[in-house]
Symmetry: D2
Subunit: 120 residues, 4 copies
DNA sequence: TTTT
DNA sequence: TTTT
């Protein structure tokens, strides 16, 4: 409660989304999204800095991602931050921070397919 | 370029901010922020789910965080996501995702101190 | 398509929400929300500037606004901008810009009532 | 204080920006931005609904708008809502709600010119 | 580790 | 018309 956890990104997919169907028939799609920022250093030279985000889409939004998004697609994505832990093969506890997608807009696609909202 | 990387959170600090002064006199403040979400399960029962975010504030924003924020403070925070890697003591590569603060608003403090923007 | 129209406000209600039930049983709640910004002038003196927003909530969100929000309540509100035109008594065309509420969070209320999302 | 007044839009310019230089050498650029939303009606048919926003950019951001934005340009724009009143020729008080631009990203332009932030 |  |  009293909580807001919102992420807004505009960037490009690094690869095609990977879709999976879990037991129970629920689908998940995962992809990475690059957001690039440009800044000037002390000498006034422009540099660019890319940040990669791990995106996870569930259910119908996963289907839409799998169907319409490709490597290189430019999208606006809205979602929330979630950190989960797991154990790697050596038994070390690891943490991953992912963005759970809530909706996205395709910025380089035909307009009739452009706006997509999560059903969840 | 073409990039947007924006995070908006409303939540509470888990602890007082930890301030550090780096070589060169630059200050950093770090703290964790809890955002709590409530949802209903299949049976209609309400549950709450807390997500912890690692926040990093630089320079003058670090000073303001150190000066005004305390364990338990409720804030609205705007920033961007940044994942950095480091090697732990055993030489394993690890990743941490942090929110670089850009501004915050205190939601439970006297109004004359409430709105604070990063100078960076 | 390709469209994003999003407003995020943190402020206080100027009055209790006004509820109305339209033909067909649809409920609407209207209220004004003040967002106050502070800035420094050329001489370094701090001023504050208040902006008033006309908020419109529909259906179940209207019910929740009517039930929980009062004059003075502090809320985070998310919605979209909509400008509509009408004719005044003298037949002049007039325009009003309103924020159609999509969700709100109460920032000064008991937590179990704090987070409220539009069903629409 | 305690205030947040933030607007985020993705849309297209209806016309080229109109630039003006005020006394004192301050520049302003004005343009309208269309955000289009698609929705399904009761019968499942898709409709689209366009909302027009009046955008005002000041100083260096006005210069950038005048230089890089054209009729039809697709942009992401961030700003705040401001309603001002004036008297028309007949002496009637009128209100206009405008979006004061704070930054924009060009979504259909060469990447090296894409990200632009207000200096104000 | 927070808050209600 | 709010809030601090």
């Amino acid at each position: 409660m009293r909580g807001l956890n919102k992420v807004m990104l505009i960037g490009n997919l690094g690869k095609d989304p990977e879709e999976q169907t879990l037991e129970g028939g629920i689908t998940v799609a995962k992809f990475s999204l690059a957001t690039t920022e440009s800044y000037k250093d002390d000498k006034g030279e422009t540099h660019s800095l890319t940040e990669w985000h791990s995106i996870v889409a569930w259910r119908s939004l996963a289907d839409l991602a799998g169907k319409y998004l490709k490597k290189g697609s430019t999208i606006y994505l809205e979602g929330k931050i979630k950190t989960r832990s797991y154990e790697d093969k050596e038994g070390n506890k690891k943490y991953v921070t992912e963005i759970i997608a809530e909706s996205f807009i395709m910025l380089d696609k035909p307009a009739d397919k452009a706006e997509i909202n999560a059903s969840f």
